[in-house]
Subunit: 269 residues, 2 copies
């Protein structure tokens, strides 16, 4: 069992805090760092136990606690023991209190409340699963965004990332052997986004994919001629649609998702 | 167009920072807050422009910048103008520098690097889409986690949330009319998690669902007798499997995901 290097103490799920810790850890050279989340903490006892564990194995602590008295408690107790501890959300909440001149509600987990926003997000995730990979072209007509691309251009994960932002996304694979669904030509081209990729990168990704599947990397799927053929067909579809294009060749899904959101924002959607 | 109340300035995608701002904002009573992300910032010019915009519309600023000189720049320039600005990641990186006694790499976006971790996550997202809703029972044999439940117990969104944590998740709907796939009985019951829900809650959720679909809320789907019938069948399957059960009646998907992770951790997986 790996010893954690950072404990994340939260009065709610602790997911956001863990992301901050992960992003910060990525700045240091060691891939074996382990993070231990302690969720739903709302008493001094649990905090003290965690502090003692952290002391014993020389870990540091990051915390998100909305109650000021618990924040103060953890700050003092870690200081006493010379443990590095960082208040992740506190400074932001204090800053907002000053900026908004409003008293915070101090209830843990408000961000996870089962509100309208939450249900929209869940609906979007389900939508993206249902209308993945051109499964049902009717989804195209109901989507906020339609992604098109040849195989292995990150259509599925990108759809899911955008779903978490509450966009309803349908994605449609483009293959020379299959005529693109007519629904594609019926929707506002501004809703359509084509994922472009360069042939070398695609060749590399597909080879990797074949190997991961335990198949021979020389299959047609990763063949350079086949790829160029597919991309030509894809380009013709894009021209016909007149939709926006994003080159995903060297982008992580998060980056592409950010670009899509910027595009939609600039269109005023 | 809504005026943003917080600008999020990041030298990378800015997603983590936005989550911190969102969670903090949820502590204040106003649902119309708008957040504006400014991604990929790496120069003083863009920072200055953002500060001027923030000043003009009385917004505050949250930032994640790994370069100390840019952090210092934004801190001083906002101070001069009396703008509330919060360094979201800086204190954590500084704390880790002290704790690890290691110099950070100070390269933006390291957390989004296209590394092994990233590809595992993408693979898990694709897996969850592919083996959603019992589509292909072979997925059950390859999954890290198998979720079972009657319709509307958040199997799909939960699968996606866990996929983002790099777990390969298959989910299988339980319906009295269909014999559960035999693969379910072949896997380690520790990998199986049953999502339980109380009939009243399910009745409510299904009614809402029918209304959202533009259908009559009195359909069999939301009928109390039908629901009890389904849940009885579900209980029999759960007993036969001998798997773990989570009551999702009043839980947000994030909370259920946390419980699943704790269960797996306790099993030492």
């Amino acid at each position: 069992m790996l010893k954690p290097i950072v404990y994340v103490v939260s009065d709610s799920v602790g997911e956001t805090a863990e992301l901050v810790v992960k992003a910060s850890l990525s700045q240091f050279n060691n891939s074996s760092f382990h993070i231990q989340r302690i969720p739903y903490v709302d008493d001094e006892g649990t905090i003290l136990e965690t502090i003692e564990q952290a002391q014993a194995i020389k870990a540091m602590i990051g915390y998100t606690l909305v109650k000021p008295e618990l924040r103060e408690f953890i700050r003092l107790e870690t200081q006493k023991r010379n443990i590095v501890s960082i208040d992740i959300m506190g400074p932001m909440i204090d800053g907002m209190t000053r900026h908004l001149n409003q008293v915070p509600r101090l209830e843990p987990g408000l961000v996870h409340k089962l509100d309208e926003d939450y249900f929209k997000r869940i609906e979007a995730v389900e939508f993206a699963v249902k209308y993945d990979d051109g499964r049902d072209p009717r989804g195209i007509l109901r989507a906020d965004i339609i992604l098109i691309g040849v195989s292995r251009t990150s259509k599925t994960p990108l759809s899911q990332f955008l779903a978490h932002k509450k966009y309803k996304v349908a994605n449609v694979p483009i293959v020379p052997e299959v005529e693109p669904p007519e629904e594609l030509f019926k929707v506002d081209p501004n809703k359509c986004i084509a994922l472009k990729i360069n042939p070398e990168k695609l060749n590399h990704i597909r080879k990797e994919r074949l190997i991961a599947l335990g198949l021979n990397a020389t299959a047609t799927y990763a063949n350079m001629e086949r790829i160029k053929n597919e991309l030509e067909f894809f380009n013709r579809v894009v021209d016909k649609l007149g939709c926006k294009v994003i080159d995903v060749s060297n982008k992580a899904v998060e980056e592409t998702a950010t670009i899509v959101q910027e595009m939609l924002r600039n269109q005023g959607q």
